[in-house]
Symmetry: C2
Subunit: 481 residues, 2 copies
Amino acid sequence: MTPAQRAVLADLDPVLGGRGISTDQAVIAPWLTDWRGRFRGRAAALLSPADTGQVRAVVAAAARHRVPLVPQGGNTSMVGGATPEEDGAAMILSLRRLDRVRRVDAGAMQATVEAGVILDRLQAAAGGAGLRFPLTLGARGTATVGGLVSTNAGGTQVLRFGTMRGLTLGVEAVLADGSLHDGTAALKKDNRGYDLDGLMVGAEGTLGIVTAATLRLVPAVAARTVAWAAVPDPDAALALLRRFQRAGDAVESFELIPADTLAAALAYLPAARAPVAASHPWHVLVEATSPDAERTPGTMVEAVLAEAMDDGLVVAATIAADERQADAFWAIRDTLSAAERARGPAAQHDVSVPVAAMPRFVVEAAAAVEARFPGTTAGGFGHLGDGNIHFHVRAPAGADAARWYAEDAPAATRFVHDLVVAAGGSIAAEHGIGRMKAGELDRLGPPSRLAAMRAIKAALDPLGILNPSKLMALAPSLPRP
Amino acid sequence: MTPAQRAVLADLDPVLGGRGISTDQAVIAPWLTDWRGRFRGRAAALLSPADTGQVRAVVAAAARHRVPLVPQGGNTSMVGGATPEEDGAAMILSLRRLDRVRRVDAGAMQATVEAGVILDRLQAAAGGAGLRFPLTLGARGTATVGGLVSTNAGGTQVLRFGTMRGLTLGVEAVLADGSLHDGTAALKKDNRGYDLDGLMVGAEGTLGIVTAATLRLVPAVAARTVAWAAVPDPDAALALLRRFQRAGDAVESFELIPADTLAAALAYLPAARAPVAASHPWHVLVEATSPDAERTPGTMVEAVLAEAMDDGLVVAATIAADERQADAFWAIRDTLSAAERARGPAAQHDVSVPVAAMPRFVVEAAAAVEARFPGTTAGGFGHLGDGNIHFHVRAPAGADAARWYAEDAPAATRFVHDLVVAAGGSIAAEHGIGRMKAGELDRLGPPSRLAAMRAIKAALDPLGILNPSKLMALAPSLPRP
């Protein structure tokens, strides 16, 4: 431990008490590795403040002694966003003890919750008020609100209510000098200058430590209709989505799945059956909901699908007969990532392009990758309505996994990212930049955006103590004693 | 003209050509005063670039020679946000010639338009595609998109679709060094770090010059229902709003009007008649819409009002029988500001508090002001659903206007702002800070917010050339040659 680190702990000992500080490496170890086991780091201490006031004390002490902090919630980052660096300079700042649901206001359809509240608890709290929190994702039993806000999390239900940015009405955050920004009042109209709350969303803990947020709740789902359709190509899928959207705003999910990926999922889930013949080249999963049990979206979904079949946009379709069947459709979708991983070494990319460009992109990018890297198999699936594709490049059959990951996969990733940039898209759609993509962000800019981000980072965290090397690996390095 | 100003014009002459530069004070004069005639300034030149490239050249030249720029659209700021300073150091940068509707994508329900496009033209362009741009306000025939974005404009239709922040999907802006940030692709998922687009919204031109924006469009209104109801008190009004909101998301406006203000409007509009007896103490104007002509919101509005009457939340109500009557109800609402002004000298405040706090605030703040400033009459009306109140303090009868505005009005304003801060609200709800409220923002903070804003301003506009003295009068002054 460095003298500066010792000084931080000495300052914090009377504030945090026994439960708040751990230097036991056995306790710390689980938090030194990311969710997927790709990144490892070191940390001399795990700081676990119990409330916002203690977080302020932690940040102030860290600033005083120039010791970096790596904020952590459920540690479910897909890009190493919560893993400390290997140099051991930083301490981990866990927000998990800030786990109070401060307020659920059913009338205003808002909840103010602390950073450590786990997503499924937030969903339950909303449900308890007869409402729901509409964002959901695979890690819902582990991911925390602070992380969801800080990474602008997405998921499968973004189409209608947006990502966390659209659902976050106000943020409470401890700034780099230990001062507090409190936006939890979530005023509907507030034009006192710059949108600090919005700036904290998706900043990956590099501009401030999110300690609480006021979130938008929406009416509970009283009825849902889940349908599966086969379409001739991605253009038809987009045309179908537009028809659903013109018919109202009931559609909450619209997932595009190529036959190849579907086949992998069916092989992975032996009990599963294809909702329609798996031989069709492209498939979509559609979910529509209604807050009114007496006005189910089934009629609308059926009418849109019937008309689309008449017009050749849909070649086969089925509507889940009951909740059990609806869950079975979703189980196929939810297993796509695992099924793809089971097929062998692959470079996975979470990217986005403008929605209108996605049908062409998924086809042309796959062809371009396969031509450039002979033997690979490339393809995308995902959230068509958001322009968000999970684009995978699988290693050639028989490739040596270690060597492929070390040599060919990075080249394929750069190639895919170049295609994304050429299509006007983003190399980080919903998983963020973290440690994993910091180099690629630096490479692909755009420069004006990077320069502005660097300036903002230096302005709000002049000592560089907040989640160093994440996102802003590009930040000019600042002297530390 | 200073040597630096001459150097800017010499640099720009070959770029902007004859139409792009004016130093004729007769031409410049109309743009030296704000909309309400409260602020005056001087400017050696009016720069009118024709496209984004020319704006970049203007900003680069201004940076090179350290000459400040005051961006201007329709010059309809309510807070002197587009008026140059009296010292004549700045040039006016008019965005009015950037007036192209670049793209209306009906499928994606988006429009990309340049900064100089006037609001009613944007509305017409959306209408031409069978859609609508839902935000509207009194200055719709003059206000431009650049100003609407830069001030995060609100208006009477914010309840359902939000302010400009909620409607702005991406921004194109020239940064302070002349570089370009282009967010008009408006990716639905983009987690490449800080939300620069969002940061430009409401920044009042102090962080960058907005040259275009991609905006959200929504389904056209096929049917609307406009109702007028008398309620016993503001608490009942809020309870009524909540009932409407639980019945779906059809309600787009919900305006609260006290009897006193209504009486002033009826006196001001001799042909107008009160929709229900004007003697009731509080009134609300409700508008609900539907995109489907066959599903008018009338049944819902009628049912909610009937039940509210049974429960004592509403004491009288009427639904406009046709469009003509609906317009007549709105004409009363739209004349409230003018009618209030006609009553004599008054200090007007555009403030907000949390929605749940508004019913109590409008009553208690009025009483507190009248007690503190004997002879004055105070009251609020406005957008209850947004927590946004236009709160007026009228001078005592017979007061000398000039003296009252010079002495008592500022004291009343500080008192009102103190009450707003105590209620957890904002001293700038929808009109922004501009020149008018910069001092009050500095006084009332909060300090952590001001410090963060100052740091961001210095980071993104280190030379202080973008709209100086607006919003960030609090910015540390920077040396200029």
